[in-house]
Amino acid sequence: MARTRAGTAFSAVVIACIVIGAGGCRRSPPSAVGEPGAYAVDAGGRPITQLEAGSSLHIGGRSLKPSTMYEFRLAIGDQPAQALDRAVSFARSSSDRDGNVPPFVLWYQAGVVGCSDRPKPDGRPYTFRSFDEAEKALAGQTLTVSIHEVDRDPTGRAQPMTLKARQALVLSRLPIARRTSPAVFVSDAKGCLLNSQLSNDGDMYVSGRNFRPGEAVELSVVANQRSWFVNDRIQDLTGVGAVAAPERVQADADGRFTVRVWDRANQRRGAYDVVAHRLDMRGARPLFISPDDIISYLAETGFLLYLRYPVGGPTMDLAGRMLGLSPYFEFADSFAETNDPVRGAVDPTYVPVGHLGGTYAAYYVVAHKDVAGWVASNALVDVSGGIEIHPVKAGCINGTDVIIWNPPLALGNYDVVVDFGMMPAASAATYMTDAQYNDTLDFLDGADQIGFIVAKDPYELGAFAVGEDSYTQDDFFATLGSRANVDLRAVVRYPATMAGAGTPVAPGQHPLFVIEHGNHSSCNTGGFDFNPAYDALHTGCPDREQNHMGYMGLLQRLASHGIIAVSIDAYDLTGNVPQLIAERSDLILKHIELWSHMNNTATFTGYPDFFAGRFAGHVDMTTISVSGHSRGGEASVGAYVRNAMSASPFAIGSVSSIAPVDGLSFVLPDVPYFVILPAADGDVCPLSGQRIYDRAGSSLAPVDSTTKSGIYVYGANHNFFNTVWAGDGDDGAAGRDDFIPAADQQRLGEAFLSAFTRVHVKNESVYEDLLRGKLKFPSFAGRKAFAIRHEKTNRKLENGSGAGASAAAPATATSVASPSVHETQALRVGWSGGSGTVTYTLSGAQRDASTFEVLSFRVAQTNAMTNPAGDQDFMVELTGGGNTKATFSSQFGRVPRPYNHVAWCTPPLQNVMTTIRIPLHSFIMNKAGVTLDNLDAVRIRFSNPGQGEMYVDDLEFSR
């Protein structure tokens, strides 16, 4: 319930407090509907009745004025902080359209700052070195949170602290109690809290309090998650090579412990949580979170192992979104304009040398500027309707996530800046932003690449009403290749003047999209499929399987964006039949002939006009895209190739495939191609579409002068992309990693196929960045869809042959043919120490990268045991003009562990090289002096992790 607080009669009033439901607790977060005010929750989002000393205070607001900036002040005692100089902490956060502010951290760890070695603000009231100290000072006290509306600044230019916070709207009080619940935290060897530490600089310790005396606890250091749920997997990373090596400890008689958990030598830069798995508690299940486990922390990052500033530059991801699945938050470079709030989060694992940290940080969303733009002006002008300010975790520059822009968003390109102010503030009262981006202190998500883009989710429906129809004629083709009496049947969705069956086509000409399903059962009645007499002729089945009806969501989406979308029924080529790829290819072309005829009856006169002229003049026969799934996915490729051999070919301008087979080894020439590779495909287990991708463009001169794209989707299976097949079961392995429910997999597939098709038939080039792996939208947020991308405009530096590449010990580089699922050469690069390199010496035209945008390569971890349990990482250097600049690959893309593809084919760990694109700006920023027009070498340098092995291919400068 949104409520407008008109009148603002904030005169002195009597405050009365009524206590209801004392001692109760609730498992679910409080409703957003209710009387206006603040509410307190714990790190797991559960309402709390008291704050245990040492815990962070998470505060939310509800039923406030919509889309309004509020200041939240925290005071100790019964009275609100009348001014910031009386506040223990404060934050500014905007309410959403419904007047709600989701919970955020207003006070980290009840003021415990611990012993971090980072510079930290001391001298503030209510800051404590230890939990014991905090408990002694705070237990029995009361917290008062007041909420104050902040003056609005529509220009976004005012320094936020100059905007006046009005009198308190509401007060909320919460008692502080001694901590009785178990707690676990990263500490030094003496048990003093640490929130961050320079990676590999010292061993990592974990301390616990309030456990049962003598109880056994297994401690795991795990990758940070935004939240933790019972049954989430516990993946400790502290062993050699990041293999699991959890530490077991027994609490002492006081229920406490301090134990070393991670040797410095094995540490890896990153953000981590600590799980205390309580082995003695009922229901404790190995390797999975149990209800009584203790985790530091849920909504907060537990601990950072950081590196000093890389040579790669000061930008980092700041904008992100919540996820409904582990890790429950992800950084993002794109947002949908509706229902997709932009969150800001700081997990800086690269930190400027001598960074001062800070007490508070302001989040600005500003119009995107490139590097030159930021150099020209570092002034900050917020465009998000308000500048959020939040406290920063002590001894650390690690902020929890907060909403920095509530929907609706405005379409465009933006950067995010975290402004730590002019200097670290000693108190709330002395915090002052400087409304400037200072690259030695502040954080920037932008400049060399766009911070984030606001665009429409490609899954969203477009503006056209959708017309519905279908056509069918049994045995229309007397022969089609080896088959006789082949049907002509399809379902159609099209842009229309009004929604519904048979409605008129929307004015104008519309591109044509044709998709063909793959192989599946052809008859729902028993005794037909696998009966040779039926298989041979496909006659007599009383209940045909409607395989072609499995893509209705995709058709609907495309039609709503102005595309005539046709899903053809390859009934006679389906079931217990051979591959029939040539026939399937030709069937696609036959349907295009039909559409040519329905557009212009003077063409292909042997066809009927099923719609009596409705589509006459409305089909743009110059803009055709073909697609298919499984055998249909190879058939779409075959249709293009066979069409190109025709004397008067159709204008097929793009081709796509979902999990295609690859029996006829078609080689696509210069035509945009997109392929979906489901990592858990239980049918086309060898991921044959990768070979189609690898071969595409290989016959061109120069080789690979074509654009091709793909996604390798962890957890996706073969059948779920088709809604009809999804109903027949899951071909993927039961219990597989990253499982994607059928509806979600369909949504993902529809989003990507719609985006690819619209790029090429509607010229919606914004989605090219989606295919480059740059954009994520809510329709597939959190899914592991790794981009594979090759640009037509490129300058190849190395093609997997090893020519021009030299390895320096302890690295090795060997050219291998067709590794894993690939049909290409690749370099297998291994290293056994932190100083190995592979250098690509550039010559001739390779030396000039000035007309390109990125350094691109594709890479995959091999199955070598030397690889880490998680992602692989390495540095990429560019040398030119006597200068060298480097960046970590992980800043631009993941090199994940091979997916465990438990299926009938072997080996189960497949190595699919996915693409990493590093903007060339990364190598010239900060006046690095690297001459992009006269480069000498590209070098891969292995530093952290210190060992591993991977395949690398197609190193190139690219658009």
Binding site: F10, S11, V13, V14, V19, G23, G24, C25, R26, R27, P30, G34, E35, G37, Y39, D42, G44, R46, P47, I48, T49, L169, L171, S172, R173, L174, S181, A183, V184, W228, F229, V230, I289, S290, P291, D292, D293, I294, I295, S482, G518, N519, A533, A536, N576, Q579, L580, D662, G682, V684, C685, P686, D730, D731, G735, R736, A742, D744, W904, C905
Partner: protein
Amino acid sequence: MSMISSSLGSRAGAGLVVAIVAAGGAVCRAQAPDSPRPAQTQAAASKSEDDSAYRGRIELRAVRVRRLDATLEKMAGPEFLKRAKEPLAVEAQTARPLPTTARGTSAILILNGERVADTWTILPDILVAFVDRSTLRQANTAAAAWSGAEQTSRSEKPITFQAEPIAK
């Protein structure tokens, strides 16, 4: 007691307004603030298909060459019958039963090293390739594999068969 929240001011502009936030609710076991959230309802994976018939290599037990009967002629199709001077079927019996579901992947015969992509399956264990007599040698080899996974599933022990005699 839950957190107490009081509104300062009134919607009417004056008077006392009291609000209670996050109060009440079902009594439950107290949880540590740093304990995990309750288990999420995971989307259950639907029943997985049995792919055991696809596992491993396809070994052949026997091969014969035969003339086409009426059913085989329909399988072979009119184009092949028109093209082939002497249409024949190579029938290979597999060592294990073939899958009983129609999928993208299927078993294919490899005759004299050449893949026959359009291999038919006749349950429980017969693979059929249609060939013109002229393409067969006196002594031939037959192997089988799953389409797309020839390297890992191709028969370890190809069978040698003679073009003659030709069965009915």
